[in-house]
Symmetry: C2
Amino acid sequence: MNVTVFGKGNIGSAVGAQLEKAGNQVDYVTTKHKADTVADLVILAVPYAALASIAKEYQQKFAGKTIVETTNPVNFKTFDSLDVPADSSATAQLQADLPDSHVLKAFNTVFAANLASGKVGDNPVEVLTAGDNKDSKELLQKAFEGSDLDVVDAGSLRRARELESIGFLQMTLAVTKQIAWTGGFAVVK
Amino acid sequence: MNVTVFGKGNIGSAVGAQLEKAGNQVDYVTTKHKADTVADLVILAVPYAALASIAKEYQQKFAGKTIVETTNPVNFKTFDSLDVPADSSATAQLQADLPDSHVLKAFNTVFAANLASGKVGDNPVEVLTAGDNKDSKELLQKAFEGSDLDVVDAGSLRRARELESIGFLQMTLAVTKQIAWTGGFAVVK
């Protein structure tokens, strides 16, 4: 299938390469290269701070599409909290900004190096996704069939909050050198 | 060293057995068998609902001690939220109830079967702990040296919130059969 990936940093490049390995056609959108149209599956591999402006600019083009956001909205000044309200998430905020789209959270609980390698230590990478539209989660799973990444349904959009907690804690463990940036949380089935 | 374990359910039995394997003397406290005195290290392997009354009953005996609480304060009616405010944690509540004790969070991110076996899949068990007293975290680490469990410092008491998010999500993944009760989050260093 066709997939549009916003951002070509560590996350966007790793996710895009896995999508291509699975046989998808990937189009990248960057600040220098805007998109006239987007695919049915869009992955936003951009920082949290960029979500609101992208939502505003692309709201109409995103209507009816599956929009996957990947951010860890960590307060990088203090590294002691998230920059979203305690009872919300970046994903819930984006869904509110894109009422005509199906927003999913995914990829934020896996470090970029592991998205690229498909391994966390000796474990396969299980990408946790959360969102309210079942078809969108199945579309995401299907897109990665044949890649090194397996997509696991972690529940409704409300669970994005827990995914952001996991992403945040994982980053604090790496910053404090308790784990390597190639380590982190593996999901053992 | 001497360790007092409150509760002899799945968690208390598994943690107690690991402590004994490491050469500690473990005394169990249950509803039928109260404690006249407690050790410097106390592990509360009891449900969230029992914490407040234990704190009230043992506040003086717990003064100056390291109190490790292990709960997942999940709303088991809805399985859709935690029973603590979004910006707090069971651990923070217990610390407020025990101002003269050093409260830690630990063990809630590892299923009971894995605390017993010392493995999550093929990975060793890394027990994440959070709390504000460094000496208390070192005491906990020392108590488990020689057991199958490794204790990792996950930061300040504020991080208990993220540990509870991880425990909660892990339980929802098992309840929805995405993972087994012998699986879950492994911490890869």
